[in-house]
Symmetry: C2
Subunit: 327 residues, 2 copies
């Protein structure tokens, strides 16, 4: 039986033909690719333009998705739909009006903060989280109106809660794990996860070793985290958000962690020396093809539940988040 | 009888409700508004965002047009369709990929050069015009593919000729006059105008006093220029491109003329001390309502010919230029 299509709520880069082939081999119907960590408007536009060319050059394998209809087209044609996302609000350069501009240029997901507190709200790594700021509230409203998914993965807990409450449509934590399962500042409090689920939002569980603890080892370990998170939030609200970046090297990790904001050592999520960043069962996207079968085979999921977790929940959320609200 | 709708191929700014009301009173169905003279990408995005808000605030009078269907909607609803245009390639910041980005953000017209030679080609005010550069050819092709009208108004003669030849679809000189009628570097050689017409392009005749000479005085004077230009190019290729900016003050003119490229005195098109920049019959757009009637009443135009010149020719060109070519 063909495994159900996988939707990966967050990946990094870089991408090339080999990575696209891994996505196909992993049964990945759709993946969100990061176009900005610290990049400003023009740098993000460069990244978007590069994606346009990359998708054109490999149009037999991928397409850029602007809505769920594009994802449906990718499915019909056996291609992977790439959703373009930013892990920071840095592309806005403080401008509310740029939300619509970047939406027009194809951006469909934006994380309110990356590793540092910014004009919108607090980061999970800062000592104090000011919550969603006045500008942050404006941006969330503008994202709702434009049709851009609000991502809270690297935000502080207060900012996450504020944004969940403030958004007119369901939001996401595209790549993090429950803090009750592994205590890491990047992970999410149970109370926040319940609030996220209550507003019909979705959590993408990460496979990134540093924030997965003992759930990082094998596919069974990771599926056990899926099962526990489903117990916590409900099967409708749990999905996949690997944080995969199989081709990232030292330069990419240095940029993610240090950007231009520090000359000091920064390990990002990888706080404990000795932690690696990849799990043995998922060094690239090919391993994702095995998840649904494992969930049904050993963890008591029905086929429909497994399908929801590996892809259906993101597709439902995208169907709401990628269309203008109240326009 | 209601005069035929006017399409003004080029205006400057700033705009406010009073200017929008003047457009309505002038029977202006559609006007291209300038969003960039020297502005870079982010500055142009600011200008586009400001236009989005301005159009929302005055939605009873105007709408932003992305295609001729939007212009048709404006006509049905008694509003003025604003086409957003740049008078320079500065928003691209040297990036080919930004053509599509700015198209996605709503830009539909771009002049290849403003008053200075740039990476795309030569300006009409420079001593030597290198012609359309290799990058300029790439940009023209990308504009064709995206659906953005190529404007050659401030370009040098060689660059104009190269772009007319190179473009896959008809191009425009949105606001200039025949140099054979008034000798000014901003105006266009007869040979270029004939080449423009041969490729089915359109010239928007300017009312700007400094480049109109003796045709700037009265409406009859200006209509005489229209009639002579029609004799030169054919009625299918002559239109209106006023260069109106009724609310521009010294700060706006200083920006247009000097940008950030010089501390010296620069008068732009206004080369001769004593020349003004407005004509007595057209201090704002209201005067445009009289043009069609004058062309038929005193200059022997048929109603259909007058309608083509005051608006129809631009609408035909937009119908070709605003859609992707060869995509």
């Amino acid at each position: 039986m063909t495994p159900p299509p996988v939707v990966d709520g967050l990946q990094c880069g870089p991408y090339d033909r080999e990575v696209f082939e891994q996505l196909r081999a992993g049964g990945v119907l759709c993946a969100t690719a990061t176009v900005a960590f610290w990049e400003d408007a023009v740098e993000t536009m460069d990244a978007l333009a590069a994606w346009h060319d990359l998708a054109t050059d490999h149009a037999d394998l991928v397409l850029l998705a602007r809505d769920t209809a594009d994802i449906g087209r990718a499915r019909a044609e056996g291609r992977t739909a790439i959703v373009l996302g930013a892990q920071n609000a840095s592309p806005l350069q403080g401008r509310l009006g740029f939300v619509r501009h970047f939406h027009a240029m194809g951006l469909r997901v934006m994380q309110l903060t990356y590793n540092n507190t910014n004009e919108l709200g607090g980061s999970c790594y800062e000592e104090h989280d000011p919550g969603l700021t006045r500008f942050g509230r404006e941006v969330v409203r503008e994202m709702n109106a434009a049709g851009m998914l609000v991502d809270l993965s690297h935000s502080g807990e207060r900012t996450r809660r504020d944004a969940i409450d403030h958004s007119a449509v369901p939001v996401a934590v595209t790549h993090a794990n429950p803090r009750s399962l592994y205590g890491h500042p990047r992970n999410v409090d149970d109370a926040t996860l319940k609030a996220l689920a209550a507003r019909d939002g979705v959590l993408g569980l990460a496979t990134y070793r540093s924030i997965s603890g003992r759930y990082a080892g094998t596919l069974d370990d990771w599926c056990a985290m899926v099962a526990r998170t489903v117990d916590l939030m409900g099967v409708r609200h749990v999905a996949v958000g690997t944080d995969l970046s199989p081709k990232a090297g030292p330069a990419e990790f240095a940029w993610m962690r240090k950007g231009r904001w520090t000359r000091g050592a920064q390990r990002g999520a990888d706080l404990s020396p000795g932690d690696g960043d990849t799990t043995e069962w998922l060094t690239d996207a090919r391993g994702l093809a095995r998840v649904a079968d494992r969930l049904t085979g050993r963890f008591g999921f029905t086929a429909a539940e497994a399908e929801a977790v590996v892809g259906g929940n993101w597709l439902r959320l995208y169907g709401t988040a990628f269309i203008p609200y109240g326009g």
